[in-house]
């Protein structure tokens, strides 16, 4: 088995492997890798005799390319025999590992939607409330600008942080179908008026100074943006829910007292449901079709990730599991307020779109992230962006 090396997750997976090995004749071994190295290693290993039996993946386009190369085993037959496993998970999270109607993976991490974080002290000092609608949000941007606070922290040296705005704007304006069309076929779907409008809104937001003037120098990995929020130099920060444990570790005093959160505001006139989310529904374990231990691999998968022991371990690690009824287990645990809020958002979300850079194939994702930087820097128009992507995909 191959998985990512992650301080929170690795012990959970490790414990599940140990439990499995104790009760089974098959002995599973777990290898973990860091993120970028893993992406390269799995790409080269799949289809070779060295492929792992069970492998970690991100679902979406990343999984789809393995499926297209006939490297992944569909799980539908197994799940038909074990409906309790299939029904244990939230449907909108399972969807991300569905390729052409077939299920190719099971969720194995906590769910991580993208939401707005904010600094309560800064909001109180400005006498404002978290916004519900986009016009309210824009008014907040002006308020904070006049108070010399950067309205939104944006680690714009990395394109994926800018992507979150495009994802939400398109979802709010055109609904999840617009991106679903892009993920499926690309081409003209990129030139849909809703896409151009969403990109235009990103550019306008950058142009009006919502992110300050030096956002393209700010880095997420060295905590530059998180610190902006924690020190009150910025008022808001759009980020995945992994930001919460981040703040707890790096700025505990701030996280306990002044860290607030709210969902992305609604956009008047848009057709997307206000409760829709974007982000990482989950990460997935899939079974390689070339595996010599296929039955054992499927057996491990279906007996583990939906089991009580695994879910409890996930919660203990601070994650919000993507299983039905997990909210009852979250109550009374550390960070229950944040985690139950996140769970509520995810379980009631009409749609939960996967981050675009993971939903499309790697070459399209690369182009997309590079164009986003140009868009936010006013080097590329929304229309040119859409045309370029239409040509690339």
């Amino acid at each position: 088995m191959w998985a990512l090396q992650d301080a929170g997750l690795t012990p959970v997976v490790k414990a599940s492997v140990d439990r499995y090995n104790k009760d089974s004749d098959n002995k599973a071994t777990l290898s973990t890798y860091i993120n970028d190295a893993y992406k390269q290693k799995i790409q080269v290993a799949m289809g070779s005799p060295n492929a792992p039996d069970v492998f970690f993946n991100w679902g979406g386009g990343n999984l789809a390319q393995f499926v297209q190369a006939d490297q992944v085993e569909p799980l539908d037959d197994t799940l038909a025999k074990k409906p309790e496993v299939r029904d244990a998970f939230l449907a909108n999270v399972m969807d991300t590992a569905k390729i052409d109607g077939k299920q190719y993976g099971l969720p194995m991490t906590g769910t991580q939607p993208v939401i707005f974080f904010y600094n309560k002290a800064v909001f109180t000092a400005a006498g404002v409330q978290p916004p519900k609608t986009y016009p309210e949000f824009l008014k907040l941007v002006d308020t904070f600008k006049s108070k010399k606070v950067t309205p939104i922290a944006l680690p714009g040296s990395q394109g994926w942080t800018e992507l979150m705005y495009a994802e939400y704007f398109l979802d709010r304006i055109g609904g999840p179908e617009k991106f679903a069309a892009i993920a499926k076929s690309g081409g003209a779907a990129w030139q849909d008026p809703a896409v151009v409008k969403a990109l235009q809104m990103c550019q306008d937001l950058a142009k009006m100074g919502a992110f300050g003037t030096n956002f393209a120098s700010i880095n997420y990995d060295n905590a530059g943006a998180s610190k902006l929020l924690a020190t009150g130099k910025a008022a808001m920060f759009l980020m995945g829910t992994w930001e919460y444990p981040n703040q707890l570790t790096n700025n505990p005093a701030f996280a306990k007292k002044d860290l607030g959160w709210f969902p992305f505001p609604t956009v008047p006139g848009g057709v997307g449901e206000p409760g829709n989310l974007v982000g990482n529904p989950s990460n997935y374990f899939s079974v390689a079709s070339g595996s010599k231990n296929k039955d054992a691999a499927i057996d491990y998968l279906t007996t583990t990730v939906a089991s009580d022991a695994y879910i409890d371990d996930l919660i203990k690690s601070g994650a919000v599991p993507a299983t039905k009824g997990a909210d009852a287990k979250l109550a009374g645990k550390p960070n229950a307020e944040f985690n139950t809020d996140v769970y509520k958002m995810v379980s009631t979300a009409p749609a939960f779109a996967q981050s675009w850079d993971q939903a499309v194939s790697p070459d399209v994702a690369k182009r997309l992230l590079s164009n986003l930087q140009k868009l936010f820097l006013q080097q590329m128009t929304a229309q040119a962006f859409a045309d370029d992507m239409a040509q690339a995909q």
Binding site: Q40, Q43, V44, M46, G47, Q65, F66, A69, Q71, G156, S157, Q158, G159, G212, T213, N214, F215, A216, S217, I218, N219, N222, G224, K227, L228, K233, P362, D363, A365, K366, R367, S370, Q373, K374, L377, Q379, M380, D388
Partner: protein
């Protein structure tokens, strides 16, 4: 063949170990890359032969010419910044006084740090809100500390970081070469009444000619392969302001998983690097290995 003639003219056999290693780790990979440049391969399964398709894709690649230009700018910038600095520092530190020895040690410290460590330290130093860039930016024309995020400042900033890293190495070359210059030349010049500046231009600089060429070849060829620093500092951004050719190759190969096209870029890099070093060596007379003991 007698053993005597073997001793007098060491033949191919003596070069065999080196030749085998060079073939195995130098020529074979290049040959494989040339082969891959004619295939379509995303790393999964087997490469499909597509002929010259990847090569004609060069013309449609909107990032290719800009990245070639950025590489050229980086190469020229690196040479222009590092050569005078390394030369002056090297000549100066070749002196014998004790405080120079101490200072020289300090200069050489960057040489001991790994490229990745240096790049990551500078990413933190250049954070516009919490790094040195926040307080020093205003003296350098960037009050908001926006160095790596500004399309016009990013490349000069990268050149600066590279200089910080590599000037010590070239200083070391110049220091060693300067110490080889016979003291008698300077004594004679002093008798003739030449001052320090005159001595530098009339003796030191000409005597260092071969070192200048060697150091320049390393800088020029090296700057065609600068990759880790750019990857960690800016990842080619903002936009594609610092996207050099090696980084473009890496992104096509290991981010977009278009191995065929990445191989085309790799072949181009081999050609550019070779041409560059041949041109420098030919035009400077370095290949004649002229004596650096001129006038003795």
């Amino acid at each position: 063949m007698s053993s005597v003639s073997l001793r007098e003219r060491p033949g191919f056999v003596w070069a065999a170990p080196a030749a085998v290693f060079f073939a195995l780790f130098g020529l074979v990979p290049i040959a494989v890359v040339v082969y891959l440049s004619g295939t379509s391969w995303n790393g999964l399964g087997t490469p499909q032969w597509v002929g010259t398709e990847n090569w004609s894709a060069l013309l449609d690649d909107s990032d290719f010419l800009p990245s070639l230009r950025t590489t050229a700018l980086l190469t020229v910038g690196t040479w222009l910044v590092q050569t005078p600095l390394a030369l002056l520092l090297g000549v100066w530190s070749a002196g014998a006084q004790r405080f120079r020895a101490v200072l020289s040690t300090v200069f050489f410290l960057p040489l001991l740090l790994s490229t990745a460590a240096i790049a990551l330290v500078f990413v933190s130093l250049l954070d516009p809100n919490f790094g040195l860039a926040a307080s020093w930016g205003k003296y350098l024309g960037a009050p908001d500390g926006n160095f790596l995020g500004d399309p016009s400042r990013a490349l000069p900033t990268v050149i600066f970081v590279l200089a910080w890293q590599f000037v010590p190495f070239h200083t070391l070359l110049y220091q060693a070469a300067t110490r080889q210059i016979p003291a008698s030349l300077y004594e004679a010049a002093q008798l003739d009444g030449a001052n320090t500046v005159r001595q530098f231009f009339a003796i030191t600089l000409p005597q260092l000619r071969n070192t200048i060429v060697a150091s320049s070849v390393m800088m020029l060829v090296g700057s065609v392969t600068y990759f880790e620093s750019v990857l960690l500092l800016t990842n080619g951004g903002p936009g594609n302001a610092t996207k050099v050719l090696p980084l473009h190759m890496y992104q096509e190969g290991f981010v977009a998983f278009d191995m065929g096209y990445a191989s085309v870029l790799a072949v181009l890099l081999v050609i550019i690097g070779t041409v560059l070093s041949v041109v420098v060596v030919r035009t400077t007379g370095y290949h004649r290995m002229a004596s650096d003991r001129e006038g003795l």
